[in-house]
């Protein structure tokens, strides 16, 4: 059984992991084991008594929801797509990008009476967005390279994450509408927040400080 006072943090593998490690290091949390990770799955910071695990984005909330990890670092895109219980306590203001609707040039989604098709990796986000606009669309779930769908004629448009816009440009797609901004967030299991109150609030405030420092650097 895990030590009651150890705080477990699940970090999304990949892009967010790099940002998160930076921000943890700046906050004074030792991530050496995470940087030189080898084949291990669990990493430890003995000074602050924190365990880190690296998991795929969509698994972060599953672990947090069940309380086997206390804190998750995960993109807002995942939070919007999955409907789970957690406290969303902090915006790390990094890994910034946005959800957007893109299509081949000259596409008009509001034209005509035929039902438009939207290809996406994020069916729930797409459904909520178009429902909010009062527009009835057909949503097609695609697992990767969503840009292909309109090019091959599977869909009229796509809803996807846009970071620089380069992938869209290279494939001849343009942004029609921006849906919302995305960045990495800190989520906390609801029971952990109460049972490990001091430890978790301490970590949040450490992280918040380095977010503020970073923001001021950019602003200043």
């Amino acid at each position: 059984m895990k030590n009651k006072n150890t705080v477990r943090i699940a970090i999304t593998k990949g892009r967010i992991e790099k940002y998160a490690v930076d921000i943890f290091q700046e906050s004074g949390i030792d991530c050496q084991e995470l940087i030189n990770k080898g084949r291990k799955l669990i990493f430890h910071d003995s000074v602050n008594n924190i365990d880190f695990v690296l998991v795929k984005a969509i698994d972060v909330l599953t672990y947090v929801d069940h309380g086997v990890v206390d804190i998750g670092i995960v993109g807002k895109d995942v939070l919007l797509e999955q409907n789970k219980n957690y406290y969303e306590v902090l915006d790390l203001k990094m890994g910034k990008c946005k959800f957007a609707i893109a299509a081949l040039p000259d596409t008009n989604l509001n034209e005509g009476y035929n039902r438009k098709k939207i290809a996406t990796k994020y069916p729930n986000v797409a459904r909520n967005y178009f429902r909010g606009k009062g527009q009835d669309v057909e949503i097609i779930k695609i697992e990767g390279s969503v840009e292909l769908a309109p090019i091959l004629g599977l869909s009229d448009a796509i809803l996807d994450i846009v970071e620089t816009g380069n992938t869209l440009k290279e494939n001849g797609l343009v942004i029609l509408e921006e849906v919302c901004d995305i960045s990495a967030r800190v989520v906390v299991n609801i029971a952990s927040m109460k049972l490990k109150r001091e430890e978790i609030l301490n970590i949040i405030s450490m992280l918040q400080n380095s977010v503020t420092v970073k923001e001021n650097l950019i602003a200043g």
Binding site: M1, K4, T62, V64, D65, H66, G67, V68, N83, N85, Y86, Y87, E88, V89, L90, D91, V188, N189, I190, A191, M193, K194, L195, R197, Q208
Partner: protein, 430 residues
């Protein structure tokens, strides 16, 4: 077509033997905790009309209910909750009753969860409702019984956190916001996202009284021990909000006098279902279970929906989560019984039967062998990890088998039956 004969639906579970026995034991411990305090058992139908659960202050989304049709085409649901049927019963069946009435129940509730995320769709709930009175005593009693019920099951390291639905409601009223913005603020408070809440308030809240704004901004941080209630009192002069806080303090004083203060924490940012709860709200957490194992509160508006205006408070314990928590602390009782098998020839059935009764009366689990040979019986006992077998083959003699690396035996005369029981006990102890 694929045949599903050998499978069970997603989110359901077969509960076997030790696990099943433990579940029944826990259910009984919980029920005893209520019955001893004067609560009355109730069983409501597994099937109810959909209309019972459909309405303004419903807490369960339509898509979370299992629906089916009756023979006249009306929509039925597998009950997704037990409080609502109790409200229906109270309003329609208890015209002559004298209130308050205390109910208790242990039943399954059914909810459609997203598949493959490790949640079961049939959950056993054990809980109580006290109907017909709105008082500090009733509030405190409900929480105290909740704490004691969990303790009676052997759970020690848990927290029950108390909030008040009216606190947030009365503060947000003052901000004069659109429904959508109210909902946003509720979301930030519930998420404990104080940073986003701050930003949102700076940008969107133009009309407010400074005192309620200050309190709302602090809300996500207002959780912890009793000091946060004092802190909250200093943040606002909204009369209803202060009344809500005083309600918490009064209830807490009683819990404290019951010697249970150490289990209690507070969270004023707990909102849950804003239109459902109307007073004190609470839920319990423990290590190793991600969600809450108990949740409840005062819901004075619900029974009115069924045509009778009566205040009510109650809670439900998620028995399956509680068992997981107990397993985590190694408190599950899979203790082995004193167990033996009696083998007999048909002529001696009468004797075997009486012998078995004597053993059972003396605290043994005693099986009568279903086999026609001693050898098969010994094999059976070995395979089931039962280390004692009694063999009745002759009228005047009893053969006692005991397994220690191999089957050893000893013969007794039948007339020593009583001494023999002691012998059996002694051998068992070894």
């Amino acid at each position: 077509m694929l045949n599903w004969m050998r499978y069970i639906p997603e989110g359901t579970k077969d509960v076997l033997f030790d696990e099943c026995r433990e579940k029944i034991r826990i259910e009984k411990l919980l029920r005893d905790s209520y019955i001893n305090c004067g609560f009355l058992d109730i069983i409501s139908p597994t099937l109810e009309f959909y209309d019972v659960f459909n309405g303004e202050n419903t807490t369960i989304a339509q898509e979370k209910m299992y629906k089916l049709f009756d023979n006249q085409g009306r929509i039925l649901v597998l009950r997704p909750d037990i409080t609502t049927p109790i409200a229906r019963i109270t309003a329609t069946k208890l015209n002559e009753a004298s209130f308050p009435i205390r109910f208790c129940y242990t039943s399954s509730v059914f909810r459609v969860n997203e598949s493959l995320f490790g949640k079961t769709n049939e959950v056993t709930q054990s809980g109580i409702e006290t109907i017909g009175i709105n008082s500090i005593k009733a509030d405190a009693e409900t929480i105290i019984i909740g704490i004691n019920a969990l303790r009676n099951c052997g759970l020690k390291d848990f927290k029950i956190e108390i909030g008040q639905a009216e606190f947030f409601k009365s503060l947000i009223e003052e901000l004069k916001l659109s429904g959508e913005n109210k909902e946003k603020i509720r979301g930030y408070v519930e998420d404990k996202n104080f940073i986003a809440l701050d930003h949102f308030i700076i940008e969107n809240v133009k009309e407010y009284s400074p005192s309620s704004l200050k309190a709302i901004k602090e809300l996500p941080k207002l959780f912890g021990n009793i000091e946060i209630i004092d802190k909250a009192l200093k943040l606002t002069n909204n009369r209803n909000a202060i009344k809500a806080l005083e309600n918490i303090i009064d209830v807490y004083r009683l819990i404290e006098k019951a010697g249970l203060a150490s289990y209690v924490t507070f969270d004023l940012g707990m909102i849950q279902h804003m239109d459902y709860y109307s007073g004190i709200i609470f839920r319990a957490f423990t290590h190793g279970v991600g969600g809450y194992i108990l949740s409840g509160g005062r819901y004075d508006g619900l029974i009115k929906k069924f045509g009778r205006d009566l205040p009510a408070i109650g809670f439900a314990i998620d028995v399956d989560s509680l068992i997981i928590a107990l397993q985590n602390i190694g408190h599950v009782n899979y203790k082995k019984d004193k167990h033996l098998v009696i083998y007999y020839t048909e002529e001696l059935f009468n004797k075997a039967f009486q012998q078995a009764v004597t053993f059972r009366e003396n605290g043994f689990v005693c099986e009568l062998s279903l086999f026609d040979s001693e050898e098969e019986t010994l094999d059976y006992a070995f395979n089931k990890n039962i280390s004692m077998v009694i063999s009745l083959i002759e009228e005047s003699q009893i053969r006692f088998y005991k397994y220690t690396k191999k089957w050893n035996h000893k013969d007794f005369e039948s007339k020593y039956l009583n001494n023999f029981l002691e012998e059996a006990e002694k051998l068992y102890e070894e």
